[in-house]
């Protein structure tokens, strides 16, 4: 029986949310860790969620979530690289790039490694004073393969939309797991280790010299240099669709899988970072339940929040997992006092964040 579409075709053609964008937080709207990090010269997740500031061995940077965006496109935030200490002549092994790492289990529908492998189209908005040719790569981390494309920034200080289509790869399947299978990277500067080869315009075995072979600029060569990016979308097929705007809460939930952070503030002295109980006079266990489940058992870091158990100073703390691999719903933290046996077994305990904007406790399960 034939199915006939009824109603206004114009409405039916409006693209809804279908999670076609493989990139998470492509509009740079979520920044749990920091909205700005200065003096950045080591690789880390410095600013916007899911965006890994890699290499960082060329120059020193302020990396921030900026309100500078392309006009009329619906974006409110971008990610900004601002060079604060220049390095005009990178050493051979130096590199500077931005990347996002993607779980293999989110990529199975691309049919990579089969004769039906789908092509991928990457679109993004970029703006910089530093004109020239830049390189973007897709790296298959399961099979050590790579494909790259270059894009030109021809007009200084002007937002430009770039669209790059990458062929499907009939070699090498992505692992169906929660590990890093695909890395999308934007090179901004590189030494000869990464520039000595040729741009890998077709999928091939990865060679370091190819990763930035098409790069003609070094963004780190002047403190006048800035680079902005937003509206990043990677999708199956050979056409770029309009950016898929997600509701803020949906975008945040997607980021929570990789990082969950509770921040303190300057006015609230009773900001609670978790509840638990005293298992003995020398130990407190605090448990957390995560929704959505974290990608993996997380690392935990904190500032100004751990020494508030009944007024007891605590500097020794530890972590234990209550779940099976890949199902990190709950996590336990164990705390011990600096000295003595101050706790009463079975008493309720809480982690309290100090009334400081710098206080936090963070659970990091990033790729």
């Amino acid at each position: 029986m034939a199915i006939t579409r009824i109603g206004d075709p114009a409405i039916a053609d409006v693209r809804g949310v279908n999670f076609r964008n493989i990139i998470i937080n492509g509009n740079m709207s979520i920044a749990q860790r920091a909205t700005s990090t200065s003096s950045a010269n080591t690789q880390a997740y410095h600013c916007t969620d899911r965006w890994f500031n890699v290499g960082m061995s060329i120059g020193t940077w302020t990396i921030s979530q900026s309100t500078e965006v392309p006009t009329g496109q619906g974006f409110a935030k971008s990610l900004k690289y601002d060079c604060t200490t220049a390095e005009a002549s990178p050493s051979a092994g130096d590199q500077l790039h931005l990347s996002q790492r993607i779980e293999g289990q989110n990529l199975q529908y691309l049919l990579k490694g089969t004769s039906s492998a789908k092509s991928l189209t990457l679109s993004f908005w970029v703006k910089t004073n530093k004109t020239g040719t830049y390189q973007v790569n897709l790296r298959d981390k399961d099979n050590t393969r790579i494909i790259g494309k270059t894009y030109a920034v021809s007009s200084a200080d002007t937002w430009e939309k770039k669209i790059l289509t990458f062929d499907g790869d009939t070699t090498g399947t992505f692992d169906n797991d929660a590990a890093n299978s695909l890395e999308c990277e934007w090179f901004l500067g590189a030494g000869s280790t990464y520039t000595s080869g040729a741009v890998p315009t077709s999928w091939e075995a990865e060679s370091s010299g190819d990763r930035a072979a098409g790069l003609t600029v070094n963004l780190g060569d002047s403190t006048s240099n800035e680079w902005y990016i937003t509206g990043v979308q990677l999708e199956a097929g050979s056409q770029a669709s309009d950016f898929e705007f997600l509701p803020h809460d949906v975008n945040l939930q997607r980021c929570y899988r990789y990082c969950y952070r509770i921040n303190g503030n300057t006015t609230d002295e009773q900001q609670i970072g978790g509840y638990g109980f005293c298992t003995s006079s020398t130990n407190v266990n605090v448990s957390y339940t995560f929704h959505p489940p974290l990608r993996s058992v997380p690392s935990v870091s904190e500032s100004n929040c751990k020494e508030t158990f009944q007024g007891v100073n605590v500097s020794q703390y530890a972590i234990f997992d209550n779940d099976q691999p890949n199902l990190c719903n709950t996590l336990g933290l164990s705390f011990q006092p600096d000295s003595g046996s101050p706790f009463t077994s079975s008493d309720i305990a809480a982690i309290r964040l100090h009334n400081s904007a710098s206080a936090f406790i963070m659970f990091d399960a990033e790729l």
Binding site: S299, Y317, I319, F320, D321, N326, L367
Partner: protein, 63 residues
């Protein structure tokens, strides 16, 4: 950059034996992270790479 790594032992339940569950990692910039003994954790993977470098040793105080 990792500066120091120490194994941490935890007594999870009453009267149980302390069990190695995680690492305490000191970074050169002053950051301290508690990293699970779990191969899927990216910081765990970084610790293993760090430990391969001659001169880098994971401190094990024992249970």
């Amino acid at each position: 950059m990792i500066d120091r790594v120490e194994k941490i032992y935890v007594t999870i339940g009453k009267n149980s034996t302390p069990k190695f569950t995680c690492f305490k990692v000191n970074y050169e910039n002053g950051l301290i992270k508690i990293v699970p003994n779990n191969i899927e954790n990216t910081d765990y993977q970084a610790i293993q790479e760090w430990a391969k470098i001659e001169g880098n040793n994971i401190i094990d105080p024992g249970a």
